[in-house]
């Protein structure tokens, strides 16, 4: 990537991608609850209805099954819907349309159809929305063949990946983080895209490989800085960006240097993506591991409301640093 560009918040990066793709391609259309005048509860669609009209940017009823189901049907006939499910928890309502229909429609027909639909949704905790408005369920969609799953952290990546996701002819679940829309980062003026399925090394290092994504990547980077500064531990930080297809090669390459692995994510550990990465490595590259790998994930419990409890439930830089210390120790 060339020029770093000006600082924008994450919501602005999403909005930029949507706007650019809508300008580029008439078939890109949006619907979701409160995405019109309101601009989305997190501002990711601000102004788009004004610019593109009420046909292309539609407020939807509280009907997640239909929001997602209509997306599938319109994609089959060549539209590129990008629908927003207001909270990732409610992807459960939409899960038949996404995981049973979108993911399988092409295959079941013997390859006759394409389903270029994008399902955007914010998950995540950290701001007191409690157990039913804070879940990270990327693992559910990663489990289903036929879906691509993207989980960006940096605004620049989010914009570039969302553009690719929209252009992709396969269904993509694009997961954002509700406490992260105001996170700032540079984003170049000129358009750019990133391929799905390629990880990015966010920080070079030689002692440990730390894999992290979505908002937790921030804590991962913080932990890495701190360990470098305070303890001289050199941490390489990898952001997979796309969780499925997963760029294992990038992780393996790093592991070839470090031999040590920590994975940090906010979603639950049990049957999560961190466990999958560890399992793939244990199965096929066990010799690369100089020490047992470690996961840092949410405590297995519905996310509580109260601040001290929520803090205790979620990973942070401290937990991650502690895990790294164990792995290098």
């Amino acid at each position: 990537m060339s020029d770093q560009g000006r600082e924008v918040v994450f919501a602005q990066a999403i909005r930029t991608a949507l706007r650019e793709e809508m300008k580029r391609d008439e078939s890109v259309i949006l619907w979701g609850q409160d995405i019109g005048v309101y601009g989305g509860v997190y501002g990711a669609t601000t102004g788009l209805q004004r610019e593109f009209g009420k046909e292309r940017v539609r407020d939807a009823p509280i009907s997640e099954m239909a929001i997602a189901g209509l997306a599938v049907g319109s994609a089959i006939l060549g539209m590129r819907p990008v629908v927003e499910i207001m909270y990732a928890d409610f992807l459960m309502h939409a899960s038949d349309a996404i995981a049973n229909q979108a993911a399988k429609w092409r295959y079941m027909s013997g390859g006759q159809f394409k389903v270029p639909a994008v399902f955007r949704s914010p998950g995540g905790g950290g701001s007191g929305y409690a157990a039913q408005h804070s879940q990270n369920i990327e693992a559910w969609f990663c489990h289903i063949p036929g879906l691509k799953v993207v989980c960006p952290c940096m605004p620049r990546d989010a914009r570039a990946l969302l553009k690719t996701a929209i252009r992709d002819d396969n269904p993509v679940v694009f997961l954002e983080h509700k406490s992260h829309y105001t996170h700032r980062g540079p984003m170049p003026k000129e358009e750019e895209t990133l391929p799905l399925g390629k990880a990015d090394v966010k920080r070079q290092g030689s002692d440990v490989t730390l894999v992290s994504w979505s908002r937790t990547l921030l804590w991962a980077l913080e932990a890495a800085e701190r360990l470098q500064d305070e303890e001289g531990v050199s941490v390489e930080v990898i952001d997979p960006l796309t969780l499925r297809p997963l760029d294992l090669d990038c992780i393996l390459e790093s592991l070839g240097k470090t031999g040590r692995l920590v994975i940090a994510h906010e979603s639950h550990a049990f049957c999560g993506v961190g466990g999958e990465i560890i399992a793939q490595i244990a199965e096929n590259h066990l010799d690369l591991l100089k020490a047992p790998p470690k996961r840092v994930c949410a405590v297995p419990c519905p996310l509580p409301y109260s601040e001290p409890l929520e803090k205790a439930a979620l990973p942070d830089a401290d937990n991650i640093a502690a895990a790294i210390r164990k792995v290098v120790g």
């Binding site: 009823p61 009907s63 189901g69 229909q101 013997g110 006759q112 799905l196």
Partner: protein, 330 residues
């Protein structure tokens, strides 16, 4: 009856026979000889809805069907060999054996697919109608489903959105009185099924689904209206399935002679035959010839299908990903 009308009726008659014989082949030959897997859902008794409704569609229109799809797909013109082959799991099947009986689809005929997840084709049909509308294309989308689907949340949500967004989609509910073993009255709080449309300010009609010409006329009118106004509608057709829910159904949930009685009185195929024969519109011998001809056509398609090669297990994942700059890991 005018000659064109007789022609039309003959044409529908042939289509209905084709469906009937196709399914009788499944029931009487493929089932005992284990020529298909899973289950196959026959529409014997419901052919008039399929044929009448499908013929009321234009070439530009699209359709979605359900687990009970043979009538709709064959009436729309699906190649019988490809349909049989799909049900047998052959690579010559319309979905190359990936889908089977519950997933017949044919893009070239604008059959967007059979969806055996009850209710899930309803929002998809609304979405396809939205695509047509936004693309400024002519044409409507027709979604078929059983009365049981009216109880799904997906149906309700999609009805509201279709009516709200003025989508050119017609919902055709084939009320065959049972959802597997569950009679309508055990599953629906109110028996006036077409009234469910009223909740969304959508037109809802309850119609007889046993007379193919009437079905055609009702649909022609309704589809035309949707074509003109862009508004959705719900048509509930009263019909009946004479055979089990699927090929493994023991049918202990309905009186032993209920089906036989309805069959005697209302079989939509015999209905056409009576019209023909009683009114001497068609020479009885010609009618026999037609039946023979269709039977042979079905048999020939079946035999060709039987020769279809099995899919190559090496190509298991073929057709999963649409090409994009990056495909999946596996």
């Amino acid at each position: 009856m005018q000659p064109e009308r007789i022609e039309q009726l003959l044409h529908y008659y042939k289509d209905m026979l084709r469906i009937r014989y196709f399914e009788e082949k499944i029931l009487n030959y493929m089932l005992p000889n284990k020529l298909f897997r899973g289950s196959s859902h026959l529409c014997i008794g419901q052919e008039a809805v399929a044929v009448g409704a499908i013929h009321a569609m234009e070439a530009e229109d699209y359709l979605y069907t359900t687990h009970r799809s043979h009538g709709h797909t064959l009436a729309r013109g699906m190649d019988m060999e490809a349909a049989f082959a799909e049900i047998m799991g052959r690579t010559t099947g319309v979905c190359h054996g990936r889908g089977g009986s519950m997933h017949l689809a044919d893009a070239s005929l604008r059959i967007l697919g059979a969806n055996p997840v009850v209710g899930s084709n309803i929002p998809m049909a609304a979405g396809s109608a939205l695509a047509l509308k936004m693309q400024g294309k002519p044409g409507i989308v027709v979604a078929f489903f059983g009365e049981g689907a009216l109880n799904t949340g997906a149906c309700h949500e999609a009805f509201n959105m279709a009516a709200l967004w003025d989508l050119p989609v017609v919902f055709i509910c084939e009320d065959n009185q049972y959802a597997i073993s569950v009679p309508e009255a055990t599953a629906m709080a109110d028996e006036d099924l077409h009234e469910r449309a009223a909740a969304y300010g959508m037109e809802g009609l309850r119609l007889d689904g046993m007379n193919v010409l009437e079905v055609y006329e009702y649909c022609r009118a309704s589809f035309g209206k949707t074509r003109r106004t862009g508004r959705p509608a719900l048509l509930v057709f009263d019909t009946y399935r004479f055979v089990g829910h699927h090929t493994a159904d023991s049918e202990q949930y309905r009186p032993k002679d209920e089906a036989i009685e309805v069959l005697r009185e209302k079989d939509p195929v015999h209905f056409v035959e009576r019209e023909f024969l009683e009114d001497c519109l068609v020479d009885p011998e010609k009618a026999v010839d037609i039946r023979l001809e269709i039977k042979e056509e079905v048999e020939a398609a079946f035999q060709r299908a039987l020769n279809g090669p099995w899919p190559d297990p090496e190509k298991l994942t073929e057709g999963l990903w649409a090409e994009s700059e990056v495909t999946c890991d596996e």
